[in-house]
């Protein structure tokens, strides 16, 4: 049997299908359960939770002394803002990918490009954050002698440096493995689909 033989039956079949009882207005009130929406939620949660955690840390800090002259306060604020920006950027990237009314090929190409760009930027961001964290820790030590980290600062420089190097290497492999696990296969699949449309 050929595909053209099915064409006629396919056409006739539409006459047999009865309209559904789906309540369209009720359906659109539901939340999307698609993979992109799930990804979006993964970025949304930290944007809400992080300020709460940082607020608690700051409240705890304010019990001790004037927080505005405290380096640790600005350290928390800085880290919080940068991390929120990271999640916000990721959230916006996924939102862009959720626009579905473009031609199929253009939509797939856009998804590949957006994913590749955002992953590259996010990986650089996470690695830079690791380095920034280390630099800020050391700055806090020299300028403030922050008591919360007293034990850490009491360690020999060589040990601290080794730990920092270990942290940077850990972040390097962590970001690489997350990229491979979550995105490489997805991007390869998308590219394959795009190549089939050439």
């Amino acid at each position: 049997m050929e595909l053209d033989d099915l064409k006629e039956q396919w056409k006739r079949s539409t006459e047999n299908i009865k309209p559904s009882n789906n309540n369209i207005m009720q359906l659109i009130q539901n939340k999307s359960t698609g993979p992109l929406e799930k990804l979006k939620q993964r970025f949304k949660k930290p944007m809400v939770l992080l300020p709460l955690v940082v607020s608690m840390l700051i409240i705890n800090l304010s019990r001790r002394h004037d927080i505005f002259s405290d380096g640790l306060f600005w350290f928390y604020i800085g880290i919080c803002l940068v991390v929120i920006s990271y999640f916000f950027y990721s959230y916006r990237m996924v939102s862009k990918m959720q626009v579905m009314d473009e031609m199929v090929k253009a939509n797939l190409e856009k998804q590949v490009q957006t994913l590749e760009n955002s992953i590259k930027k996010r990986i650089v961001f996470i690695r830079v954050m690791a380095v920034l964290f280390i630099v800020l820790m050391e700055i806090l030590m020299y300028y403030q002698q922050e008591p919360s980290f007293a034990k850490w600062y009491a360690q020999p420089l060589l040990l601290r440096l080794s730990c920092y190097i270990f942290l940077v290497v850990l972040f390097y492999f962590f970001t690489r493995s997350v990229k491979n696990k979550r995105y490489t296969k997805l991007i390869t699949n998308l590219k394959e689909l795009v190549s089939q449309m050439q």
Binding site: L6, K7, Q9, W10, S20, N30, G34, P35, M100
Partner: protein
């Protein structure tokens, strides 16, 4: 336009074109539950995109774009689909049409083969079965008409081979 009016207009358009969405769901989801989920997801995405619909293309063309894009995005996670594909999920039910046993078997084989096509080939096959012109198919998929004709011939040949081998 007022929000309520917009909602009414959307509801009416979806009801008029509901069959098209069913067919996309049947093409991309093998089980009843998955088809219902996909239907809901497509309607949600259509509603989100409806604010930007300016009527520059036919409503059905626009709807196919959103529905196929949504189905492809969703079906990336359903690789089990190929093994579990159920011919009964297709809009044309074998029992709907009076065929000989041999014809029914051939039809089953053809459905199974369609289920094994990749996402893009499924979209082309569905639009072909829907008797959409190559121009409209091109507007939906973003592939030139010439390439579509070549692809269609290849798909037919592929289905012929798959049906023969199964």
């Amino acid at each position: 336009m007022h929000q309520k009016e917009k909602e009414k207009e959307f509801e009416l358009l979806i009801k008029q074109h509901e069959l098209l969405i069913f067919k996309v769901c049947a093409m991309y989801a093998s089980e009843a539950g998955d088809r219902q989920d996909l239907f809901q997801e497509i309607v949600i995405q259509l509603w989100k995109a409806f604010k930007n619909f300016r009527g520059e293309s036919k409503f059905s063309t626009w709807l196919y774009r959103v529905a196929i894009n949504t189905a492809i995005t969703r079906s990336r996670k359903e690789k089990k689909f190929i093994d579990l594909y159920d011919p009964a999920s297709m809009p044309v039910q074998i029992s709907d049409v009076n065929n000989s046993i041999e014809q029914e078997e051939q039809l089953q084989q053809l459905y199974l083969s369609i289920g094994q096509l990749n996402e893009i080939e499924k979209a082309i096959t569905m639009l072909y079965l829907e008797d959409r012109s190559y121009e409209e198919m091109s507007n939906i998929l973003g592939i030139s008409e010439g390439t579509l004709r070549v692809k269609m011939n290849r798909i037919k040949e592929k289905l012929r081979q798959m049906t023969k081998n199964n």
